[in-house]
Amino acid sequence: MRTTGTLRFVVVLVLMGMGAVVARVAQLQLMTPEALVAYMPDRESTHAVEGYRGDLSDRVGRLVATSRMGYRVFVDPVELDRLESKQPGTIDETIVKLAEALGEPSGKIGGRIVEGLIENHRRESSGPLVVATEPTGGLGVLLEALRARAQTEEAEASDTGLALRRYLVVSGVLKPHELAAVERLGLPGVHLERRAVREYPGGELMASIVGKVGFEQTGLLGAERLLDRELQASDGRVRYVRDAWGRPLWIERGAIQQPTHGSDVRLSIDLEVQRIALEELTRGVEEADAAGGRVVVADPLTGEIIAMADVYRHVPDLSAYPWQPADNRDEWPVPIRRYTTLPDDFARLEHPALGRSRCVEDVYEPGSTFKPIVWSLLTEAGCAVPEDKIDTESGRWRTSYGRGIEDVTKRAEMTWLQVLENSSNIGMVKIGERMSGRDLRSGVLRFGFGSRTGTKLPGEATGIVTTDKSWNKYTHTSVSFGHEISVTPVQMVRAYCALVRTGDLTGTMPSLRMTAPHTADPANAIVERIIGGDVAAQARLAMREVGRKVESRMKDEEPPGGWRYPMLGKSGTAEIPLGKAPDGFRRPRGARGYFEDQYNSSFVAAAPAAEPRLVAIIVIDDPGPGRIRARSHYGSAVAGPVVRRVLERSLHYLGVPPSRETPALAVR
């Protein structure tokens, strides 16, 4: 039958077609073509869940760095453009209203927005898929297709297909009233963005220690960088399936990743001791008409740094050192003037956290403050016993190789103990010669010079100890009284810990630390006993005498009943080395390697003397010419009183029981 046959034929055709369709579905589903896979995006968006960076606090929990959430404003230029085309004048209105809400001139915000709009127009017009006229008719489309393909190939070659900007930040972190104003406006195309903001309640007092975080909340400087691993938070993530308009549909199993918040860390710093130290240092620098000063206060038992600060002081009539061009060979006497010894720290002017931390980064010559270290090394080695009488040549002597040595306290004879007490260079050099250079050098290294102290602060200097190879008799002589060696204030503090630790710890040295010890990070193990307990006790005895001399000159400041916490310590005064000449320049002919009559005056001290609980160093950089003329530029005169005040106030604040010396004990 014709009818049925025709239908049979059609049905067979249709069934074959459907078989092909099912086969096609199977192909698409089971063996998805590569070309299609490339266009199969995961219909997912990610929403970040902020983790909070850990807080930093001082040793008793006062916040010095913390995070809060803030908002800033960004605009979507594409959205603004669309609104403008719908209703002209929208952009102007948005700019004016936004500027009013932010309390800024409209030109500033408007400039930024208009810039973004112009940039978008530029990108749009350079895009590859722009057709000038919409072709009508199918043939036109075919021709257009050929043209477009050619254009696409061109465009791919030059790769100018830039995405439009849709994110234009126009404000900093908003203040509460600004936020409220922007929210009240509810302008379309204007959005708020949550951002973590780092706050530093410690202020300038702590700035150089705490440091700073960068834009992405990573520590860049100071403790923020040092402790970044612990403080660092990692953002959580929620992945959700979205529809074509970006609206969330659902969250798949396992698509939530919780944020990890950073751990809070306690610093070893005590904010109040820090304040005391900075206050006293500033006063001391002021009184000494100095260019700057540094202070470090540490706990000798744990190695924790309790306070650390450095200051700059503006001195009006400084001149730049007259470096000579490298090709100038003329003899040219350097006029004696006050030169700039402390280069300006421009970064610090920008932000206090950006400045150099001069207590760990900048070295100086310790001078006589180094003598207790050499003295105890020599005593430990048996080169002399404290009672040995030493001929100090009435304060003027030439070494075997003819180098002139002078003492400030000129005596004909001193005991070995008095050599330290009176800071006799001659005595130190004479006994120092009884030790080999190699031994002296290795002793100095054991005291931690030439190596970092363990603060892990970024940029810590190691200082310079002359190498074995270059160690000659000049070096040996110089090092004996603390010259030709460069150290950092923190290194000096650590070395003194070995001298002032009492009991079982005596003669040992801790690593310094910026954080309070806790179970996961215990206090440092004892590595090596550098000097014996008896030697340390003898050295303390001599240093107590030095401390007593400082105290005796401060009668007007002495609390009724005497100083609560008797101090021991050692002063030092050293000329400031010139350092390396700038490129293309050299030292003027005839000039020594030092600034003439410009000094670093320092004092390292510990208190209470019987069982020191704090060790502190004060370095006064370049005391003024007035003090030098009055011969009161020495460490004991400019730095001693400062360290005395710092220790007295700090220990009192810390609640250490006073241990006034009874007059009977004070008599030797």
């Binding site: 059609v10 099912v22 199977a26 589903q29 089971l30 266009y39 898929l129 199918g138």
Partner: protein
Amino acid sequence: MLRPGHVIALAVLALLALGTVMVASAGMRVAPLGVDGYSTEGVTLNSIVLSRNSAYTAAALVLLLIASRLPVRALATLACPAETTTGQGETRSWFHPASGLALWAGIVIALAVLLAMVYAPVVGKTVNGSSRWVGVGSFSFQPSEVAKWALVAAIAWYGVVRGPVLRHFFAGLLPVAIGAGLLVGLVAIEDLGTGVLMGAVVGVMLLAAGAKLWHLALFVPPAAAAVFLLIATSAYRARRILAFLDPFAYPETHGYHMIQSMIAIANGHGTGRGLGNGLQKFGYLPEDRTDFLFAVICEEIGLLGALIVASLYAAILLAAVRIVSRERSAMLQLFGVGVAATIGLQALINMVVVTGLGPTKGIALPLLSAGGTGWMLTAACLGVLIAMDRAQAHESSPEPSPDLCDEEDTLWGQQASVA
């Protein structure tokens, strides 16, 4: 024993049920409460049962039921009184050939007017740049949908009335070709896919009615030229052809639809994402509830879904073949051919388009894609096939009583006597 009519009824029921569920699934949207005055509660059994499509399903099933109860033989005889039961050999009609032609012309004009209504100022509606809809108030329909089925009936009628002369080119084929060509052309201007479908069905029916193959072949070149002209003068059609040839060259523009459809299918990964778990329906795949519902089915039910859909259509087609082959009335036979060819070809074209085997065409999947009139008319036409099966069942009943005439004969006899 399951009769072919039962198979059709069950397949229609299955397709409509699947369609209702899948249209509801594809219609899922993110709709926050109170944004636009009313809020959706999501897709639930309740929402599916109370949906518009459930109402259409019910209406379609009622129409199916009514159509299956129609005295089709009697109606066929009424439409063509002298029709012989086989449609072959010697036939005599009280219709003069000329009056048959006049009536044909009248039908064509009536349908042409109906189709032209889409351009009428008040009732015509333009959706997506095409004028395909006629509507008054909330009621609207596509005249082409009506014309599609009306033409099937008209050709069936013409094929019988002028069956004897159909083998003659000028007397038989040309008038029907001109009339049908006019209607198909009118449809094709706005809806090329439906036009092509109607043209193909007309061809199949005329061939079945006895027209010579080479006579019909003469119409292929002008038809092809017309199709090419329609493509060449329309930018969007040309783009669709381009997109079909290389969809990945235009992933953001004309190729987007085809790529998204293929992504939807590929997302099924054999087992399907699970009913209701499709992704592409959330705004990525356009026309997901209507022309591209098959892609959603493949995404959510996987290969199994594709097989089920294909099997259901195959069941309908095979049952239709069975019924047509047993049918004694030539006109009903031709009508059955037309209905089966329409449903089969329409489903195939849709699935070919959705799977990216052919250029994108706006053509619905019969009984599945969301739609009111489409479902109802299709179901009604399949109901006629069921009615034919019922009539055949009476004939082949185990105890044929010579005393009793066939039901429709009796009916006709009564009506004739009344006349």
